[in-house]
């Protein structure tokens, strides 16, 4: 998906530079020449690179407290080593399997169910010829993406609250009585996924709209000549046309399965639905910041990040082999 394209520059220099023993000295010369010519650019990069070092790489180094018993007095480097004790503690903790299951089920549910909606929306929008209608639908479905998570969850809670929510009136109208959607753990995942689709469907459709607009028009002509109707045209031209995009989106989503957002789950949590709504990121927050058990929280975070990285790599290479589409 993201290409930082090194190829052209490298190839052109390689074409000029003869391979051989003098290569390294040439490298040094290229370096010093680049420094002399572009010292201002290097200077410019110092502050942002310091940002990445301090806020991204130092935390990675700090993550070694996962193998230590961190205490404030000794700090990150002085605290005693304990090996894999923190991980063992987490794996033998009775909540471990519940957390893993909750995290995995919630993410898989989100990925699988919310995946087709933007595609359907984009395909349908692409068929509409009334510009005004098309633009209205696009603008309106896009809007919720810009509403904050806090507000979306507040709205959800207001709708579902048994005493004054809209849903309470709907369910009692159908004679179902008032259902406590928020208090019943079984509803948690559905609420999460539906509110997620509501919020991101329009936004995610944009990328498919872009892919659809870049499909070669001669394919449509060909389909027309072959006598395809609109639906057949979608199956034969549109869907194959957005396939690479869809694959990339899916890989990213599957690769991020364990990195499911903290924000929403945390806001939707209450003491009643915790048995299904407690996921690894929210647990890390509670262990680390509320119980101040830094080492344990770092270990759990590292475990989660590790799984995520492995998943991403596996999905990327599998997809590359099967479909030829990968992230890089």
């Amino acid at each position: 998906m993201v290409i930082i394209d090194d190829a052209p520059a490298d190839q052109s220099t390689r074409a000029i530079v003869a391979p051989g023993p003098r290569r390294s000295s040439r490298g040094v010369r290229a370096m010093s020449r680049s420094f002399r010519r572009h010292w201002q650019l290097y200077l410019l990069m110092i502050v942002p690179l310091a940002y990445f070092a301090i806020f991204k790489y130092v935390p990675m180094a700090n993550a070694i407290i996962a193998f230590k018993d961190y205490n404030v007095v000794d700090g990150v480097w002085g605290s005693p080593w304990v090996g894999f004790e923190q991980f063992e503690r987490f794996f033998t903790n009775p909540v471990f399997w519940t957390l893993l299951k909750n995290t995995f089920l919630l993410s898989a549910y989100v990925v699988l169910v919310s995946f087709p909606f933007p595609i359907i929306l984009a395909l349908a929008l692409n068929e509409v010829r009334l510009r005004f209608f098309q633009r209205t639908v696009q603008m309106v479905t896009y809007a919720p993406y810009f509403i904050s998570t806090v507000v979306v969850i507040s709205m959800t809670i207001l709708f579902l609250s048994p005493k004054l929510g809209l849903m309470g009136h709907v369910t009692s109208f159908f004679g179902l009585g008032s259902i406590d959607f928020l208090g019943d753990p079984d509803y948690f995942r559905h609420i999460y996924v539906i509110s997620d689709i509501w919020q991101t469907m329009g936004y995610s459709a944009v990328i498919y709209m872009a892919a659809l607009s870049s499909i070669d028009p001669s394919l449509y002509e060909a389909a027309k000549v072959d006598g395809a109707n609109r639906f057949q045209k979608i199956l034969a031209v549109d869907l194959p046309g957005i396939m690479p995009t869809a694959m990339t989106v899916l890989i990213l989503a599957v690769g991020n399965v364990m990195a499911i957002g903290f924000e929403k789950a945390f806001l939707l949590q209450n003491s009643l639905n915790l048995s299904q709504s407690e996921i690894i990121p929210t647990y890390v927050y509670k262990v680390g910041l509320l119980n101040a058990d830094f080492s344990q929280a770092a270990a759990i975070g590292l475990f989660n990040g590790g799984i995520n990285l492995v998943l991403l790599l596996v999905v990327h290479y599998t997809s590359k082999r099967l479909t030829g589409t990968g992230l890089w």
């Binding site: 993201v2 394209d5 052209p8 520059a9 370096m31 420094f35 010519r37 572009h38 201002q40 650019l41 290097y42 410019l44 502050v47 942002p48 690179l49 990445f52 301090i54 806020f55 991204k56 130092v58 935390p59 990675m60 700090n62 349908a124 068929e127 510009r131 005004f132 209608f133 209205t136 639908v137 309106v140 809007a143 810009f146 904050s148 806090v150 969850i153 507040s154 809670i157 207001l158 709708f159 005493k163 004054l164 944009v206 990328i207 872009a210 109707n229 609109r230 639906f231 995009t245 990339t248 990121p281 890390v284 910041l289 830094f294 770092a298 975070g301 989660n304 990040g305 990285l309 589409t325």
Partner: protein, 314 residues
């Protein structure tokens, strides 16, 4: 209703012959299919729109009407009481001001840093840019985690200060990538060569040629950062203890989700107080979302560009 009227107007604007021709060509299957498409899209439209309409309608209704469920999609017993409560609350006002500060300052810092790293990395003749780009992209795949990052903020001594809201998330990798791709594809190499012949330094060229040519990009990135800052509550939850520093979203969370009573409501009777508190939630949602909804139509156009810039081919 409105849609239908618009549709009629729209079709009228079209030249007659064209419309009739396509209508005759459309086989029956296609016409049925198009009806399906319109029904589907209208459903999507309503599903997204109606909850928003309901919130706005409730926010203008009387506390009693809201809590007895008489409000649907139009205000009942119109009143501004909810807004008076919401805007009269000192906690909420200070949240609003804080969020404005964080959003302006944060966006400025983020934009400056993003350009400062993305422009050099976009220059093909810069030695060392490959490894540096990789190091930056790697932070997208793997992160130290919440607690190790918290420790850094603590070590820097910016815990519970405004800096904790501005620095830890200052540069987004995604934004850097979008900027690099933009500089690569939209700033012609010839301009740089011409500037060099004129004896302009790198910074001079960046300031007086590249940046003026990159206004759409700067707008996209600034808006992305601004909306991110305005909507975020997580960093505040982690790093801030002092309620005077809370951004709006964290105040909203406390009021809307945790139901923390706001001061200044003791005089009224218990039930009435609860009803008013509930009403205030609707008004608060509207108040906090209106700023975003005002800029959103402009943002959306630029955002689309941004998404497409970022999604090179995929």
């Amino acid at each position: 209703m409105n849609d239908k009227a618009e549709r009629v107007r729209n079709t009228k604007r079209r030249p007659r012959g064209v419309r009739r021709a396509t209508q005759i060509k459309d086989p029956m299957v296609d016409r049925v299919f198009m009806v399906g498409v319109y029904v589907l899209l209208s459903t999507f439209l309503l599903i997204v729109l109606l909850p928003l309409v309901y919130i706005v309608a409730s926010s203008f209704s009387s506390p009693l009407a809201v809590s007895s469920g008489r409000v649907t999609f139009w205000p009942v017993d119109f009143t501004l009481e909810g807004y008076q409560r919401a805007l009269g609350d000192s906690q909420i006002l200070s949240g609003f001001v804080n969020s404005l500060i964080y959003t302006t300052a944060g966006t400025t810092i983020s934009l400056a840093l993003t350009v400062a790293v993305a422009y050099p990395l976009s220059r093909r003749d810069l030695w060392g840019r490959g490894p540096v780009s990789l190091a930056i992209i790697f932070t997208m795949l793997f992160a130290g985690g919440i607690i190790p990052t918290y420790l850094v903020v603590q070590q820097l001594g910016i815990l519970d200060t405004r800096w904790a809201m501005l620095l830890p998330q200052a540069v987004g990798v995604w934004q850097v990538i979008i900027a690099i791709v933009f500089f690569r594809s939209s700033i012609p190499e010839e301009l740089y060569e011409a500037a060099q012949l004129d004896g302009a330094s790198d910074l001079r060229f960046l300031w007086s040629t590249v940046l003026p040519l990159s206004k759409p990009l700067l707008a996209v990135i600034a808006l992305m950062y601004a909306i991110f800052q305005w909507n975020s509550y997580f960093d505040a939850l982690l790093y801030l203890r002092d309620p005077d520093l809370y951004p709006l979203q964290l105040v909203l969370r406390n009021v809307l989700i945790l139901n923390q009573a706001t001061p200044g409501m003791d005089a009224t009777a218990q039930i009435e107080r609860q009803q008013l508190a509930d009403l205030m939630k609707y008004s608060l949602i509207v108040v906090s979302t209106v700023p975003i909804m005002i800029v959103y139509p402009f943002v959306a156009r630029y955002f689309n560009k941004g998404i497409m810039l970022g999604a090179v081919k995929g």
